[in-house]
């Protein structure tokens, strides 16, 4: 087939494609979507980092055997796993933060809510990971003269670390998807941007299809990264 006619055909296809209103709406707003995706990523990364710190502290508290610490960690974990994130976001933004940090932004509230929520799940993952390490390891370390804390830090946690990587990656993906709920407090992340565009153009299939695709690319990247980390750890 001559090159020229191929160009005419493909040109026609592109022309007729561009005649679809939904595609036009989506393609002219691609930077708008990506801007929302950046905010989604910012909230996700911050929440994951803070959530991991919180989760580690809560998990260690829970297995510490110290009554007040166990009690505190249990209340925290139970509350944030036992209530919907959606409700937590509204409670924190409209209820709790105005009392303690009156000038806080919706971004702050979004990160605090997602971190606290994720921390509770991470705590249970870490606790399960630590308890999955053979009991004999702790006994052996203790019999070598290590203190309880030394044994935990140098023997148990490095082994638990490998066990918790896959469920942690899972949790990170969940955090990324759950950030869509912060749309309710007007944090203009990917989902709210989709909603805003959709409320004026009504191109449901194109807009939500694009939003879903961008989320998918982000979560897929995370899981590929997770697989890579897992493989590297297995070879160690």
């Amino acid at each position: 087939m001559p090159v020229a006619s191929f160009h005419i055909i493909s040109g026609n296809i592109i022309d007729s494609m561009m005649g679809i209103r939904g595609l036009q709406v989506v393609s002219t707003h691609m930077m708008y979507f990506l801007g929302g995706a950046v905010l989604t990523l910012e909230i996700t990364v911050l929440s994951i980092l803070i959530g991991m710190a919180l989760g580690l502290v809560a998990a260690l508290s829970k297995i510490s055997g110290l009554k007040p610490l166990v009690w505190l960690a249990t209340v925290y974990i139970d509350f944030f796993r036992g209530t919907p994130l959606f409700v937590q976001i509204l409670l924190i933004y409209f209820g709790v933060l105005p009392m303690i940090l009156p000038d806080s932004s919706n971004f702050t509230a979004a990160v605090i809510a997602c971190s606290l929520n994720s921390g509770a799940y991470v705590a249970e993952i870490v606790r399960a990971g630590i308890q999955a390490v053979d009991r004999g390891q702790m006994e052996a370390a203790r019999s070598l003269g290590m203190s309880n804390r030394q044994a935990m830090w140098h023997v148990i946690l490095p082994q638990a670390y490998k066990i918790v990587i896959p469920p942690l990656i899972n949790e990170f993906i969940a955090v990324l998807k759950d950030t869509s709920l912060v749309a309710v407090i007007a944090a203009e992340e990917l989902t709210l941007r989709g909603k805003l565009l959709y409320s004026t153009t009504f191109e449901a299939a194109w807009i939500w299809g694009t939003v879903a695709m961008i989320y998918f690319i982000m979560t897929k990247t995370l899981s590929v990264l997770g697989d890579w980390v897992e493989r590297r750890l297995a070879n160690e």
Binding site: F94, S105, N106, A183, A186, K195, S199, T200, F202
Partner: protein, 268 residues
């Protein structure tokens, strides 16, 4: 012991299945328009029911408000049973187009943008926009004062469009968009924004009730386009005719005025 546990589990499962079956058969019994043609026709109506005094849900789960009374009166005048369901404001037009509901009544302003997607009934209400600010605010007195300020509005409303228009004039302006106007007022009350732009009758209601003493209205009523209509699927002339006939009837027999007085009599 084990046997008791499994017996209890089995009992729960069987009960659950029995429930599921009755629930399903109940669903099948709910009248669809085709089945009830001989008795009473059904008009399926969608509404975003957190917009008092136009629509709200009362403690007993009933939908109340000017729009609700109006559509029920229109239905009654035309021999329809009105079934109202609560949807997000931005989901109303897609639901109409997907045929999930016959029409929507939700203080929706008729504008060209929406007319591209749906057909509207005759207008049934005139409403302009108004600015609401915190009670102690002295800097905002008119639309011009909003430039560079933090604004809040409900997604998909003309108030949101007006807020965006302010932002277009001065990019330093920020616009926060919420799912319902109630959250926008909460944001105003807690100092997260400087002003809310919204339909006058609704803002009026909030200022006199929920936000009494915390929020006030400033400036003149203004609008981009200010008439409410009832959207139906494009080309659905049958339903448009029913609605317009019903509306004309209740306007002629004084019922429209009665409903108007019930919800706005005290305010005006």
């Amino acid at each position: 012991m084990k046997r008791t546990v499994s017996l209890v589990l089995a009992a729960i499962l069987i009960l659950g299945m029995a429930f599921a079956v009755t629930a399903c058969s109940k669903k099948e019994q709910t009248p669809t328009p085709q089945q009830t043609d001989t008795t009473k026709k059904v008009l399926k109506v969608g509404s975003e029911t957190t917009y008092p005094p136009f629509e709200s849900s009362s403690a007993n789960g009933q939908y109340d408000g000017f729009d609700m009374d109006l559509i029920r009166a229109i239905g009654a005048a035309e021999g329809y049973e009105v079934q109202i369901q609560s949807l997000g404001f931005d989901a109303l037009i897609p639901a109409v187009n997907a045929g999930k509901i016959d029409c929507a009544i939700s203080a929706m302003t008729i504008n060209d943008e929406r007319k591209q997607s749906v057909d509207f009934s005759d207008p049934y209400f005139n409403a302009g926009l108004i600015i609401a600010v915190a009670e102690n605010d002295t800097t905002i007195k008119s639309l011009d004062d909003l430039k560079g300020k933090r604004l809040a509005a409900e997604v998909g409303t003309t108030g949101k469009a007006a807020s965006d228009a302010v932002k277009a004039k001065d990019p330093k302006t920020t616009v926060k968009t919420f799912d319902s106007v109630g959250e926008a007022f909460m944001e105003l009350e807690k100092g997260g924004v400087d002003a809310v732009i919204n339909d006058r009758p609704v803002t009026d209601y909030y200022v006199k009730n929920a936000e009494k003493g915390k929020v006030k209205m400033v400036g003149e009523e203004f609008s981009i386009d200010a008439q409410y209509g009832i959207p139906v699927k494009k080309g659905n002339t049958a339903i448009i005719k029913v609605i317009n006939d019903g509306l004309a009837k209740i306007k002629a027999n004084g019922e429209y005025q009665k409903i108007y007085d019930k919800w706005f009599g005290a305010a005006k």
